[in-house]
């Protein structure tokens, strides 16, 4: 007799057991996923809190770098601004600490740590950054004491022709010189080391460079032949000619001055042709002429007051008008608006202006003739001579560093420094005996470039007393 047996209880229980193990595994894996998703939620929240720590530290930096004190901090919003408070701060299950280390006075290493406990497991997120005191105001380098300058070194340019003109920007000098075959007329000199200056770059200009002015990355040269030449000096080691303008008439360019977007050029006399030109240099590479004028004689240096642009002051060869004030408001129709007549027929070579005072230097007027003249130009239409002193032919005057520098032929002292804080009193505070007459001068707060007729020492580097 056969009996088809049903499943025994044992078998059923076994089947149920196996099934529940399988189900259990599935359920636990879901629980794990669930937990994992919570961890990822906490992680993103924690990350954002840590990031907030960094951002808050940045906001505190923007308020005051001094508040970033080394140590461990919490952050809090107080009075709607972030500030450090305590050694940590908590939000829900998260604890945040900001650690600040100061490797140097203007640097902070910021570490923002957020920690929490997730299902019994300690977790943390750490963000780190470096914050700099980048808005720290840096005092400009001290100008040194220019009332007591000294000769630091000299530079001998190739060939034996005089250097004629100079401009300075920081410790870089831009030098123009007499032309000579086979040699260059425009030099860039690095006098960062005042005792061993070096020639950085040079350019052949094919003409005498009587005047140099530099703005931005361009140098403007007043030259013989083509009167205005523009040189790109963005690469100091290799200046390149951008453009050269040949103006009507044959008068050489004598001097250039720049104020804002305007460039002023003076020239040697050539008949009825213009001797004074005004250019717009808003596009520095291509000056546009705004106007020109014939002022009745050849012109030497030109200078403008730093306080106003309506008048240019020109040292002139015109015997009745050694100083000419030209209203340049409308360059299309310019003429001599005011002038000063010095006795005798000596030409004025040099002019400098500061505020409402002009300094006029002339050729040697012989005997007790006064070559250095202080002129009140508060009313430019009627300049008045308020003080004078006798030197010898003054070739260049620069107003810089709160002082007036005059380069001259005077054999004993080719460079004289005046403190003109009282314009009625000519106060020569320093003199320098250089090896030859000073023909041009470029001044910055750090260096002076005196260019001379000494063919072995064309450029002489001046430094202030410390």
């Amino acid at each position: 007799m056969r009996f088809a047996n049903g499943q025994s209880l044992i078998e059923v229980l076994l089947a149920v057991a196996i099934f529940s193990i399988v189900m259990g595994a599935i359920v636990f894996s879901f629980i794990d996923i669930y937990r994992g998703s919570f961890y990822s939620v906490n992680r993103t929240d924690g990350f954002r809190l840590a990031q907030e720590g960094i951002e808050a530290t940045r906001a505190i930096r923007d308020r005051s770098f001094a508040e970033l004190v080394s140590g461990t901090h919490g952050i809090a919003l107080s009075g709607a601004q972030w500030s450090f408070s305590g050694t940590s701060d908590t939000s829900a299950l998260f604890t945040r600490t900001i650690e600040i280390a100061s490797p140097d006075v203007d640097t902070r290493y910021v570490t923002s740590t957020v920690s929490w406990v997730d299902g019994g497991q300690p977790r943390s997120i750490v963000l780190a950054t470096i914050i700099k005191n980048w808005e720290k105001s840096i005092a400009p380098p001290s100008a040194g004491n220019w009332t007591n300058p000294s000769l630091a070194s000299t530079v001998n340019l190739p060939g034996n022709t005089n250097a004629l003109s100079a401009a300075a920007s920081g410790t870089i000098g831009f030098i123009g010189r007499q032309s000579s075959s086979g040699n260059d007329e425009f030099y860039i000199i690095d006098a960062t080391s005042s005792t061993s200056p070096s020639v950085l770059g040079y350019l052949n200009i094919s003409g005498r460079v009587y005047g140099v002015a530099v703005t931005g990355t361009y140098a403007y040269l007043a030259t013989s032949g083509r009167e205005l030449q523009v040189v790109d000096v963005s690469n100091l080691s290799s200046p390149s000619l951008v453009t050269r303008l040949n103006l009507p008439g044959g008068g050489d360019g004598r001097d250039v001055a720049i104020q804002g977007n305007r460039l002023y050029l003076t020239r040697r006399n050539s008949g009825s042709r213009p001797v004074f030109h005004v250019f717009d240099i808003s596009n520095p590479a291509s000056p546009v002429e705004l106007g020109s004028a014939n002022l009745g004689a050849g012109e030497y240096d030109v200078a403008l007051s730093e306080v106003g642009t309506s008048f240019a002051f020109i040292a002139s060869a015109r015997n009745a008008q050694e100083l000419q004030a030209v209203n340049v408001t409308n360059p299309v129709s310019m003429g001599v608006g005011g002038s000063l007549n010095l006795s005798g027929n000596a030409n004025a070579y040099a002019v400098g202006v500061s505020g409402t005072v002009a300094y006029l230097g002339t050729a040697n007027r012989g005997g007790a003739g006064n070559e250095f003249n202080v002129v009140n130009v508060a009313t430019p239409t009627s300049p008045t001579n308020i003080a004078s002193a006798s030197y010898q032919s003054i070739n260049v005057i620069r107003v810089a560093n709160g002082l007036v520098f005059a380069g001259m032929d005077y054999a004993a002292n080719e460079l004289v420094v005046f403190d003109m804080s009282d314009p009625n009193t000519i106060n020569a505070v320093a003199t320098l005996n250089l090896s030859a007459p000073v023909l041009g001068l470029g001044m910055s707060t750090e260096r002076g470039f005196a260019v001379t007729a000494d063919n072995s020492n064309e450029v002489q580097i001046l430094i202030p007393a410390p």
Binding site: G6, R48, A56, R58, A80
Partner: protein, 169 residues
């Protein structure tokens, strides 16, 4: 004569009892698992949607020129930023019908959060110091639109974030 011996009544009742207990347990588990999955999805949507919206706002703040609204020290439910690019200036973040929206320049308003989540509340605080560039603290409360899963309430999360403008004009 052969007889197939059937189950006894007792046995049958016993089997049915075991089976029903087992079925009820397993179906309850299954329901739990399914609800758990739904809830995970909802949590994920809240977290992901909230995070990406927050990141978008913080990044935009960092790249802004300045903060127009809220004023320094004040709070607002709308953030107006002055941006460097003309096409995105101004950029406005605001919540409309529980959806976070952004309006860049003259372009039409576009939405930043999906329909699966609701922005229940958003507060922008201008925490910048005087004469400092803008610094904004954001509090945003986000919940899922899946209203009621199982016995629990809709998942929600509070997002906070802060950003300080990098540019200096």
């Amino acid at each position: 004569m052969k007889y197939h011996q059937g189950f006894t009544l007792i046995e049958t009742l016993f089997y049915i009892m075991i089976l029903s207990v087992f079925l009820s347990i397993s179906s309850a588990l299954l329901i739990q698992v399914l609800q758990g999955m739904q809830k995970t999805d909802a949590v994920y949507a809240v977290n992901e949607g909230g995070s990406s919206a927050m990141t978008r706002m913080l990044t935009t703040i960092r790249n802004a020129d300045s903060v127009t609204l809220p004023l320094q020290g004040a709070t607002s439910s709308q953030l107006t930023l002055t941006m460097p690019g003309t096409s995105s200036n101004p950029t406005i973040f605001l919540v409309e019908n529980e959806v976070l929206k952004v309006k860049e320049g003259t372009a039409a308003t576009s939405t930043l959060t999906a329909k699966t989540i609701r922005i229940k509340d958003i507060v922008f605080t201008n925490v910048a110091a005087t004469s400092s560039p803008g610094s904004i603290h954001i509090d945003m409360s986000v919940s899922s639109t899946a209203s009621d899963i199982g016995t629990g309430n809709a998942p929600e999360n509070i997002f906070t974030g802060s950003a300080t403008i990098r540019r200096r004009l």
